[in-house]
């Protein structure tokens, strides 16, 4: 990933929010924001939509992290999105949060969603974990790109 993206992902907002949350314990709890931990513990929209209108799976070849998102589209808007994920806590939490963000978006809005926005909404992602987290944008663009082309 490009350095400037990294800086944006680790943006001041995310940093501030992450620092402002007091962890319940030590170690990993301090490494991740409460928002991220909460999504990891209680992932939303887990699973797969049967016969989805749009679907894609992306795999990060280096770390092996894999994210699959399936979507139901109704009247040009995403009515429902579900995810499955293999990977580190960041990948799982990003998948969960992305499905929440996607619900209600137009296809165009979804295509404009960036990894930086997801990372920021997660309360920031530690710099050393960003390489694990950047699958959301790719999955959405692959899933919806063909719909726009049509």
């Amino acid at each position: 990933m490009r350095r400037e993206d990294r800086v944006r992902l680790e943006g001041r907002e995310g940093q501030k929010r992450r620092n402002s949350v007091s962890g319940v314990g030590g170690g990993a709890d301090e490494m991740y924001s409460q928002i991220l931990l909460e999504h990891f513990e209680n992932p939303r929209n887990l699973g797969e939509i049967p016969s989805p209108d749009a679907a894609a799976t992306e795999r990060n070849p280096e770390q092996g992290d894999t994210l699959r998102i399936t979507m139901r589209i109704d009247g040009g808007r995403i009515a429902e999105a579900r995810f499955k994920a293999f990977g580190c806590p960041v990948t799982i939490a990003a998948g969960s949060l992305a499905t929440e963000m996607l619900a209600g978006m137009t296809i165009q809005q979804a295509l404009e969603l960036t990894d930086a926005q997801v990372a920021d909404a997660l309360g920031g992602v530690p710099e050393e974990r960003i390489r694990c987290s950047v699958l959301v944008q790719k999955v959405i663009r692959r899933a919806l790109g063909s719909l726009v082309a049509e």
Partner: protein, 383 residues
């Protein structure tokens, strides 16, 4: 949050007796052991020399063969760079196993950048180095062979006596990184027949910041640290007196307890192994089934990433060979060298048992692990 600590291959807590032995040497008996012009200095020197004698006896060495360092990383650097540099008049080739600690491998690579040639020895699926491979790798330009005693990730114990014998026959120096074995299983430098051996206090309930290098008599070594000429000119710098005292106490405790404690840990490890195999499907044991440290288990869990598994277990302190936790771009180089596929390397957990663990904790870990695996597998698009 209260943790079940299962990361004893990374570090161990200081034993209370070690702390008690060290305490007088911070503020009260603070003198520099090199200051032999006054009684407090001479007392410090005597205490350090007495400790050196005890440490030497514990690892099967003579007192003069022990050089105190800041830890195993420094000792490994000193062994590899110091030996290669001191013998560069008679060769330019070094040999190291693919699963050596980075302190050894990166020292070898530093030498490579400075005109030496490096042969990296492969390991088999258990992580074992073949003595025949060592023999084949040695040329008439070889100075040093470095093969560790036991691996920190998978616990595999190498055939060090055989490797030492080959090195002696071929006239090359043998460095044995014993960081994971000293204090855990018997390590006897002269019985093994190595020329150099690194060890560290905090791996067996001693303090951090102290370790040592065994240097066989008459083995030439260029110092990394130059200055005051301490440690017979091999390692300049004021000796870490509280550290040395703590290291000696840790050796004393290990000497006393090793038999019973390693039997206890073996039983706990078997309980953990059997619990995992009975509770979780799709597991793979990494490392040798028998030739391994008594306190170490390493498992891969299909279709799960190691760090996520650790976080899902919450109250267990563990480490993983996954890329996210290794600090490298790929998963553990040790597992890679053993031919473990990347997916399984990402899904590996290292269980390092120690004094604080008991059967109840092991059962709690198995239960927590089973629940975490089920939860994460339900999320995985791979299953």
């Amino acid at each position: 949050m209260k943790y079940i600590y299962l990361d004893h291959n990374a570090t161990t807590p200081l034993h209370p007796d070690v702390l008690a032995a060290m305490l007088p040497f911070f503020a009260e008996k603070f003198a520099n052991p090199a200051s032999i012009t006054h009684p407090p200095g001479r007392e410090a020197r005597d205490m350090v020399e007495q400790a050196r004698g005890e440490i030497a006896a514990f690892i099967g060495a003579e007192p003069a063969e022990i050089v105190f360092t800041s830890g195993a990383t420094e000792a490994d650097n000193m062994a590899v760079k110091g030996a290669a540099w001191a013998h560069r008049d008679r060769g330019d080739h070094i040999v190291a196993s693919a699963v050596e600690h980075k302190a050894v491998l990166d020292s070898c690579r530093w030498l490579e950048k400075n005109g030496f040639r490096l042969t990296v020895l492969p390991v088999d699926r258990w992580g074992l180095v073949g003595p025949d491979d060592v023999d084949r790798a040695i040329t008439d330009r070889t100075i040093l062979v470095s093969v560790m005693h036991a691996n920190s990730e998978v616990g595999t114990v190498q055939p060090v006596e055989e490797i030492a014998r080959i090195c002696r026959q071929r006239g090359v120096l043998y460095h044995c990184d014993a960081t994971q074995t000293v204090g855990k299983i018997p390590f006897h430098a002269s019985a093994i027949g190595c020329d150099l051996a690194a060890f560290s206090g905090h791996k067996f309930y001693g303090p951090k910041g102290i370790g040592g290098l065994f240097v066989r008599r008459r083995v030439r070594l260029d110092p990394l640290m130059t200055g005051g000429g301490q440690e017979r000119g091999r390692r300049s710098g004021t000796v870490n007196v509280p550290g040395v005292i703590g290291l000696a106490e840790a050796c004393r405790i290990a000497q006393r307890d090793m038999g019973l404690e390693s039997a206890r840990l073996l039983a706990l490890r078997q309980r953990l192994h059997d619990g995992i195999v009975a509770t979780v499907e799709g597991t793979h044991l990494n490392g040798h089934p028998v030739r391994r440290l008594p306190n170490n288990l390493n498992f891969s869990f299909e279709a799960i990433e190691g760090e996520a598994l650790i976080l899902a277990m919450r109250s267990v302190a563990l480490s993983s060979g996954s890329a996210c936790t290794s600090g490298e771009s790929g998963p553990s180089y040790v597992l890679k060298a053993m031919g473990v596929p990347d997916d399984l390397a990402h899904s590996s957990l290292r269980f390092g048992l120690g004094r604080s663990n008991d059967a109840d904790q092991i059962d709690a870990v198995v239960t927590s692990l089973g629940a975490a695996v089920r939860k994460l597998r339900a999320m995985s698009p791979k299953v």
